[in-house]
Amino acid sequence: MPSRETNPSFMSGVPELLLLRLLQDNEMYGYELVQAVQAQTDAAITLGEGVIYPVLHALERDGALTSSRKTVNGRSRVYYRATELGAQRFADLKGNWSRITNAVSTVLRGAEHGFSV
């Protein structure tokens, strides 16, 4: 079982990025989302399962997501889906994330080749 420890400051914004990506194509409920994140990241990223709901509520409040209650197999659940605004927010976050990872990669490549600060 993977460790449930995360680095909160480094992981800041990552749950939002992942949730917006997953909700671009499908509407999903909380448990499904957590399972999808674990499956798609090969369990490298393990979200605190219950704490995704405040992120989802905040995204919905900002208009990035919509929610609807549906009953499936006798269970009533809240399904979330990304809106146009959510797609735009995802694109912005993805751009920021790419810039950061490229910058970090550049530094790490420099360190491998004897780069010193």
Binding site: G30, Y31, Y53, P54, V55, H57, A58, V78
Partner: protein, 227 residues
């Protein structure tokens, strides 16, 4: 082992999280817990509930994640002065205006000529509006303050300020509709503030019908009863 949902609910409400978000969060956590328990049982875990609790997160983590989202806080927590002090008098003023507009519209629709006696139903309507305006509206506004404050597990300072303020303001507020009850009389709508013999009585009635109820609700509220 059972997840302490009630404690978490009280903690979130006391911290000012909007009741709407708290209700949905609790429902989603309960569903998530059930899913985790089913998954643990399917995987042959001998202690499915403990496993589900661990994966769901500690009550502290779950509370902090929600409380940290300031945008999910209720207006009663973000701006209690607006909700409890200014909100009810504004609502009272709005009800005054709506009552006046309603009465003017009815009289215009009926087309009552000056000096003519009002039909009995119009006199009854005017009397009902006067009675509701004097006794029902202030008490209703006070009950709304009490309900909002109790639901949000508010400390009593702002709710009490609001209850006293609306009790006094509604006692001073004056809206009275007169319709002609005898030939030659004229109708009149009086709106404004009035301090007279009745004011003290009206303020006392407002406070007597709202303050004890607020304290009773507060006392019966499980979150406060546990303190």
């Amino acid at each position: 082992m059972v997840f302490p949902f009630e404690r978490l609910r009280d903690r979130l409400l006391t911290a000012g999280v909007s009741p709407r978000h708290v209700r949905r969060y609790m429902a989603e956590l309960a569903d998530h817990f059930d899913d985790l328990e089913v998954a643990a049982k399917s995987a042959g875990n001998p202690r499915p509930q403990e496993s589900a609790l661990e994966r769901l997160g500690s009550p502290d983590d779950l509370a902090q994640a929600m409380i940290a989202r300031t945008e999910l806080k209720a207006w009663a927590a973000r701006a209690p002065w607006a909700v409890f002090l200014f909100g009810p008098p504004l609502l009272l003023a709005l009800i005054d205006v709506l009552s006046t507009v309603l009465m003017i519209s009815v009289v215009k629709t009926v087309g009552l000529p000056p000096g003519q006696v009002a039909p009995s139903w119009l006199a009854a309507l005017a009397a009902a509006i006067n009675l509701v305006q004097i006794y029902a509206v202030p008490v209703l506004l006070g009950w709304i303050i009490a309900a909002v404050a109790t639901r949000q597990r508010m400390r009593p300072l702002w709710p009490l300020i609001g209850l006293v303020a609306i009790g006094v303001i509604a006692g001073i507020n004056y809206l009275h509709i007169d319709v002609p009850l005898a030939p030659g009389q004229h109708g009149e709508i009086s709106l404004g503030g009035s301090i007279g013999r009745e004011t003290g009585f009206r303020v006392a009635v407002n406070l007597i019908l709202t303050l004890p109820l607020y304290f009773a609700w507060r006392r019966w509220q499980p979150a406060f009863a546990r303190d």
